[in-house]
């Protein structure tokens, strides 16, 4: 207090004293520090994200191409069309694999004997015939012709080529022996081996063979499941939110409901799965593993999120708009339908899309209703057996074949692309329909 008591000149007032300067500097320093903390936090978060994306991309990128071997294959009519009808419906699909084997034996005549030939077959995929059948199997004109085709290499060759299995490892420790390696190197030297785009990954469903496994079935399953989820959760969620926010009296019952909705948002998702198992599957007897049941379970799970975000969006509509409409002689329902709900819609949709993105990545409850089934064809309806993207990731992560490691990461990449697209849509919708008042 002595400073104040002392006679003050214009240059030595309380607010320009040395102490004041000190306080000022301390304030600036504190603000600077706070900024640095913030930037550091963002940097750490970004770094984590980059590391995550980098590792997944590095693991998964290789799944988008596949090592293939070019062979001169003769479509032997005696094998493919044993009945001689020249009708593609009568073709022996299993014989395409034999035809490829024959081509392989012709390519390497030095491989004689049962063991050598078995090793030789180890170069190509055990399901290579499926690819050949897909390419030429429906064309009777191909019978008897000799064509050059790219045949997927076996998983072991594929992994060696991609560097996931070390070819300098001791022979006993790798799935490919020295002789097989020599043959493959010969193929490579002749230009008869190289990478091809792995279109199977996008067009087929799950398989025991990594070279034949694809995501298409899981994507269709996810889309069907989300359609069920959205068509259940959105109307119910909006109706609940509108009623609770705009019409319901504030009493103990509505308080209880509100508390319960908030609690439901925090219930572990597996519990919803158990509920779905008990109610939808066992009580109502709905088909197991179907997008219908999966979608219903996830709809239950998304409801609290949608209700909470919809209520927040409704609350954010200024009361003056409600008063204006009521003052004009609009009923409460008209007020909500004409003014409040349209204004809240961007917020509701944003919340819904984020809930849907969450639902897209949901795994645990779907395992409970059997969506981890091994499904080798895309579901054709809501009642078919299906898998979904995250469950497919889960299944592949568990698979013993080396080839599924990269497929798992690639599936995660596809899942992330869907998530980013959905969140981007949410942002775009908000920007587009946001109205200012």
């Amino acid at each position: 207090m002595t400073e104040i008591a002392a006679p003050m000149t214009a240059t030595h007032s309380f607010h320009t004293s040395v102490e004041a300067e000190k306080r000022l500097r301390a304030r600036y320093a504190a603000e600077q520090r706070f900024k640095i903390y913030g930037i550091l936090a963002i940097a750490v978060a970004c770094l984590m994200l980059v590391v995550l994306l980098f590792t997944i991309t590095r693991e998964g990128m290789t799944a988008f191409w596949q090592t293939a071997i070019r062979l001169e294959v003769t479509i032997d009519p005696a094998k493919i069309d044993p009945k001689g009808t020249r009708n593609p419906a009568d073709f022996d699909r299993a014989a395409f694999q034999d035809v490829i084997h024959e081509a392989l034996y012709t390519r390497f005549p030095q491989a004689e004997g049962r063991i050598a030939r078995k090793e030789l077959r180890g170069l190509i995929s055990p399901v290579a015939g499926v690819f050949l059948a897909k390419e030429v199997g429906d064309d009777a004109a191909m019978l008897g012709r000799t064509i050059q085709v790219w045949i997927p290499a076996s998983d072991a060759i594929n992994q060696i080529e991609k560097g996931r299995i070390d070819r300098n490892e001791e022979e006993a420790n790798r799935p490919i022996n020295d002789r097989q390696l020599a043959w493959f190197d010969q193929l490579k030297k002749d230009g008869d081996s190289g990478p091809i785009f792995n279109s199977t990954f996008f067009t087929s469903s799950d398989s025991n063979y990594p070279e034949l496994a694809g995501l298409f079935g899981a994507v269709v399953g996810s889309v069907l499941t989300l359609i069920v989820t959205l068509s259940l959760a959105l109307p119910i969620g909006i109706a609940t939110a509108v009623y609770l926010e705009e019409f319901a009296p504030k009493n103990r019952l509505t308080d209880l409901i509100e508390v319960n909705i908030n609690n439901l948002a925090a219930v572990p998702s597996i519990v919803f799965g158990l509920l779905g198992l008990a109610v939808f599957l066992q009580f109502f007897g709905l088909p197991r593993s179907s997008p219908l049941v999966g979608g219903m379970v996830i709809a239950l799970m998304s409801l609290p999120t949608i209700i909470i975000s919809a209520r927040a969006a409704l609350k954010a509509v200024p009361p003056s708009i409600r008063e204006a409409a009521l003052g004009m002689g609009a009923s409460r329902l008209q007020t909500v339908a004409h003014h409040v709900l349209p204004l809240a819609m961007p917020g509701i949709l944003t919340g819904t899309i984020i809930a849907m993105a969450h639902a897209l990545g949901e795994t645990a409850p779907l395992l409970m209703v059997g969506m981890n089934a091994f499904v080798t064809s895309a579901p054709s309806g809501f009642l078919d057996s299906a898998s979904v993207l995250p469950v497919q990731v889960y299944i592949w992560a568990d698979a013993p074949e080396r080839g599924f490691v990269e497929l798992t990461s690639a599936a995660i990449m596809v899942l992330l692309v869907f998530l980013v697209a959905m969140n981007g849509t949410a942002i775009w919708l908000r920007k587009k329909f946001e109205r200012r008042w």
Partner: protein, 262 residues
Amino acid sequence: MTKTSGEAGTKRAKMAGRGVKVFYGEKRALHGIDVDIYQNEVLALIGPSGCGKSTFLRTLNRMNDTIDICRVEGKITLDGQDIYDPKLDVVQLRARVGMVFQKPNPFPKSIYDNIVYGPKLHGLATRKDEFDAIVEQSLKRAGLWTEVKDRLNEPGTGLSGGQQQRLCIARAVAVSPEVILMDEPCSALDPIATAHIEELIDELRANFTIVIVTHNMQQAARVSQRTAFFHLGDLVEVGATEEIFTNPRDERTQGYITGRYG
């Protein structure tokens, strides 16, 4: 501005309140208000903040219904009919007793859509040309037509504050109400916009009965024929505006209009 005497008996009471008490939960906000509102007059409600004048205004078209804890006792009539009669439809009441709020609150829609919302709602018109006519007439009555006639499709929220408030008045006028309630319609506006609205109120008096809450005593003196002074939930005094401002009967009225408290 001409001032009518505003004496009871010579004019018909459009609306009347008898023993109006309003409770917010346990708290009583109005202690029994008796007041008549005459046809084609402007009644100003004045008084210090929190005296209950806005509360009283909002009981006149039952806007208080939207507040859960609010309860109204007593009787309010419109053309002799009790407006708190459970059989009376509140939507219809609000079509007959329109309201303009303190803060301009146009809908975030075009100027045109703002005006036609009410008429559409109450089925006042069906054809496009009828709506066009209502829009033009309402905007003319609100003195906004010349300013906005070329941009009817622009958002109402893009207008200036004063224009927005006149748009709100036009919107209220468009449903042809009998009474217009105004809750401090000029408090968010600058003096020029305020003058505009005051002129407008005087013109609207020819067709409507107007009740206006104001904090501005000059405004009350300028626009109203009769003035009611509220204090702590009581109606202290009501009478011809000239009377109230020049020769108040009650000490509290005198204290307020001379600026001893407010």
